[in-house]
């Protein structure tokens, strides 16, 4: 068989394989009429969930099921919509996958629970409650929302979260925040790193705590903060010139620092047990 014939055979083979895979997948679209401030809850063992704002007051859920070993259950009660991926016997991480694409009114609250699969949401104003074991969590362009995220070892990325109440509890996954500000930003990590890049807004409280993970916060020179940082056994580094302030205990150079920058509008606490803490000037 010459090379042209081999290539042709390969292409035909791949096409047939693709057709078989495509036949195994099932696409399911669900529509729900909801009122203001609806709640949409999705529980999915395997596979990604992506949430975006919808036009009007309709929730549209598009689910792609990897095989017939998984089903999607749905339930609506008033403005509450519950979607549940239901694994059937012999389903595994591949055959049990469901990919969700969800369009919801921007003021809706979203509750997502997943074991392994990316969770994405963008341009929402409603509250967010995400629970994830391993997959990535990625949120961007939120305004005025309460954001609660719990993860075992999946990384968390927040981008452009304005006026938010943010609470993240992560065991091993890194938490990266870009342009995140609001009245309360709280991150609690065991071994994951915490990276913050933003101006800390005006009038908020930022508490970043870790056990062994490093904490790195980067802010512009105009940031207005009252900062306290301490690592019990790790090093601390500060690039800002701080106005000293009274602390209830003696500051040990190299393991803690405290002071204010500009008008000290926001309170910032960076606390780690053995991780390195670095407050960087942008």
């Amino acid at each position: 068989m010459d090379s042209k014939s081999r290539n042709a055979t390969l292409i035909v083979g791949l096409t047939i394989a693709g057709m078989i895979c495509a036949q195994a997948e099932t696409r399911k679209e669900m529509h729900f009429k909801v009122g203001r401030h609806a709640t949409v809850s999705i529980t999915n063992q395997f596979g990604p969930i992506s949430v975006r704002p919808a036009v009007g007051r309709e929730v549209v859920v598009t689910a792609i099921l990897a095989s017939d070993k998984v089903e999607v259950d749905q339930n609506q009660r008033g403005s509450r919509v519950d979607i549940f991926s239901h694994l059937l016997p012999a389903a595994d991480a591949t055959s049990g996958q469901v990919s969700y694409d969800v369009a919801v009114p921007a003021d809706a609250s979203i509750v997502l629970h997943a074991t392994d699969g990316q969770l994405r949401a963008e341009k929402m104003r409603g509250d967010v409650d995400f629970e994830e074991a391993s997959g990535d969590v990625d949120l961007r362009d939120f305004n005025g929302a309460h954001v609660h995220i719990k993860t075992l070892d999946g990384p968390v990325t927040l981008t452009n979260i304005q006026d938010g109440y943010v609470e993240i509890t992560s065991m091993g996954g890194d938490v990266v925040m870009n342009a995140v500000n609001g009245p309360m930003v709280q991150v609690n990590s065991v071994s994951g790193k915490i990276l913050y890049d933003g101006d800390f807004g005006a009038g908020g409280e930022y508490v970043l705590t870790s056990h062994t993970g490093d904490i790195e916060a980067q802010a512009p020179a105009y940031a207005s903060i009252d900062v306290f940082a301490r690592s019990v056994t790790g090093p601390v580094v500060n690039d800002f010139t701080l106005e000293p302030e009274h602390t209830p205990f003696a500051i040990k150079a190299g393991s803690a620092f405290a002071g204010t920058v500009n008008k000290a509008a926001s309170k910032v606490k960076l606390l780690s047990f053995s991780g390195k803490i670095h407050l960087k000037k942008r």
Binding site: A93, H113, T115, E131, A133, S134, K150, L152, D153, T169, M171, G172, N188, V190, S191, V207, T209, H211, T212, R230, V232, P248, F249, K269, L271, F273, S274
Partner: protein
């Protein structure tokens, strides 16, 4: 009275048949005191969670058989006060959040020294035991943690390693936070570390519950 004798008598004692020997042992043994406190706290929490959905009988049968194989329960013996009289099976659905709540509350109370005096040589029973090996403390699991991991392994063997690693890390966090808080009781930030550490453990238990209910 030894700890073993005490724990064998727990079901009867839990019914109200307390005696001097029991009280003496309870006052002198931190481990048994912790166990009784946990059981009482869980018993108090349990009625509040009766409204929660009851998983299928098959699930309880399966859990029961695993616990029996593990030697954690025995046929023909009444369960300790941990188990509600109304439903003799181990009800994981209420046990997990109750245990998580108890972990948080006891952790804070222990730190504040309100339960019983805490010496620097001993740590509360609910936290991980530690063994020093060449200056590096090795964290082992408490009985509660082991039961938790057994339940995880039964439902999802693939997730057991993940939860085990998480538990190990969080127990190390709790241990460090406790030591820090004890070394300086006036240190407000040390209290925050402790709260954060217990929050993490509560999250771990809660996530497992959410996933497997």
């Amino acid at each position: 009275m030894t700890c073993e004798q005490f724990q064998e008598l727990l079901p009867e004692i839990g019914g109200g048949n307390r005696n001097i020997e029991y009280e003496t042992h309870l006052r002198s043994c931190q481990e048994c005191w912790g166990l009784v406190s946990d059981l009482n706290a869980i018993s108090r929490q349990a009625p509040l969670l009766q409204a929660s959905e009851e998983p299928s009988p098959q699930l309880w049968n399966a859990i029961e058989s695993v616990l029996r194989e593990e030697g954690l329960i025995h046929s023909g013996r009444q369960q300790p006060v941990l188990v509600l009289k109304r439903n003799p099976r181990w009800n994981l659905a209420w046990m997990l959040p109750a245990a998580a709540s108890v972990l948080v509350v006891l952790g804070v109370l222990n730190y504040q020294g309100k339960i019983h005096p805490v010496s620097t040589e001993s740590t509360p029973t609910l936290t991980a035991n530690t063994v020093n090996v060449q200056d590096r403390p090795v964290v082992t699991f408490s009985a509660e943690d082991q039961k938790f991991l057994t339940a995880i392994a039964f439902r999802s063997p693939a997730l057991r390693a993940k939860y085990e690693r998480g538990l190990r890390d969080v127990n190390a966090y709790i241990r460090d936070a406790q030591q820090s808080a004890l070394s300086d009781p006036n240190d407000e930030e040390a209290q925050r570390y402790l709260m954060s550490a217990y929050d993490q453990k509560a999250m771990l238990y809660q996530m497992a519950l959410d996933r497997f209910q």
